[in-house]
Amino acid sequence: MATVEELAGQESVQRWYNYYSQHWGAPPDWDFKLQALARFSQWIGKTPDQMIGECLREVEGGYKKIRVKKRRFYIAKIKEFEESIGGVQGRNWANAVRSFFIHNGVAMSADILR
């Protein structure tokens, strides 16, 4: 769908980088994070901006509201994506995608590893 370079120019990806960096410092594994997002983006057939646009809608006062069904949809899809890769690697790739959603204001988590 989109290359890593194209991805980096997306507004939602820049927001991800900025919010992450504000709290955690510049991510040392940024290239990996972008690769993971690019792979997910390809897998699901949507750009990052499209995914976030689907999950959030503007409401009065300039606020954004989460679309519950879309959030659930992406939670399930990320899990599916994780399982398609499998193991710790799958978890790492999926967590990079989750991080992208989280720092765009779409709260999500993962089951703890057992």
Partner: protein, 264 residues
């Protein structure tokens, strides 16, 4: 633990040791503490239902989650679900406030302060309790505020027992389905209880508004003077502790995220 230290050590713990159960005795102590909390008209305004994570199906556990109540539910072995009992005041009205009369009988509400059975019958029931019972909004606020006193006491009891604890939101529909609670119970919080997987400091004491902005003397806006000597005394007693963020907090979260396989 001394009371001041209990107050100082309380934090919202969000990472628990999932492998370590909580002794049933400690859960009972928490519930016993709630039962003895301050309350108006000596009535039970709360109900509590103890849920054990390991006795819930994965589907039920997941259904309790909200967008930001997730990992803590997966890791805490115990969740005490707290409710405000909206039938408490109406029952009091209907029964003629027997618990209040009991307080008169045992001398807790003495005539020196104007208390008598007649006062309860003629004033408190018809003029105080009935208007509350008849107004759903006032009833909800009053009952929740009273029940919250019990919940607050339960939190401190958990800390005193060396446990980590947290009040968190739960999915109300799932709570109803799992516990089968009656409609007159209004869900307040889930109190998660377990042994912390993060350090008990959990990053340090949380920031608060300046003392002078919340506490006044005689008139609103006239700050209660904060004596630095008292502050020092409270620091010695461990009620006032090192403020968040402690320098190692971010690293702690990184390690916890790695241990549990969570996103950052």
């Amino acid at each position: 633990m001394e009371f001041k230290e209990v107050v100082g050590r309380r934090r919202s713990i969000r990472f628990f040791q999932p492998w370590r159960p909580v002794e049933k005795e400690k859960i009972q102590i928490i519930l016993e503490a709630a039962r003895l909390a301050s309350r108006a008209v000596n009535v039970d305004f709360y109900k509590a239902i103890v849920l054990y994570r390991d006795q819930l199906s994965k589907e039920d556990l997941d259904s309790l989650k909200t967008p930001t109540t997730n990992v803590q539910l997966d890791t805490a072995p115990v969740c005490i679900v707290w409710f405000a009992d909206l039938s408490a005041v109406p029952r009091m009205v209907q029964a003629g406030a027997p618990t209040l009369k009991e307080l008169v009988n045992v001398g807790a509400l003495p005539p020196t302060h104007g208390w008598s059975h007649a006062y309860v019958d003629n004033v408190i029931v018809p003029q105080v309790l009935k208007p509350i019972a008849d107004n759903p909004a006032v009833l909800a606020v009053t009952t929740a505020a009273e029940a919250a006193q019990a919940v607050c006491t339960a939190l401190y009891a958990a800390v005193d027992e060396g446990l980590g604890t947290l009040l968190t939101a739960l999915n109300a529909e799932a709570v109803k389905r799992i516990t089968g609670h009656p409609d007159h119970l209004m869900l307040l919080f889930g109190q998660l209880v377990g042994y912390p997987a993060e350090s008990w400091e959990a990053g340090g004491q949380r920031p608060r508004e300046p003392f002078e902005q919340t506490s006044f003397e005689m008139r609103y806006g006239n700050p209660f003077p904060r004596d630095p000597k008292v502050v020092e005394k409270l620091k010695e007693a461990k009620m006032i502790q090192d403020p968040a963020p402690l320098p190692w907090r971010q690293e702690e979260i990184r390690y916890l995220a790695q241990m549990f396989g969570l996103p950052l």
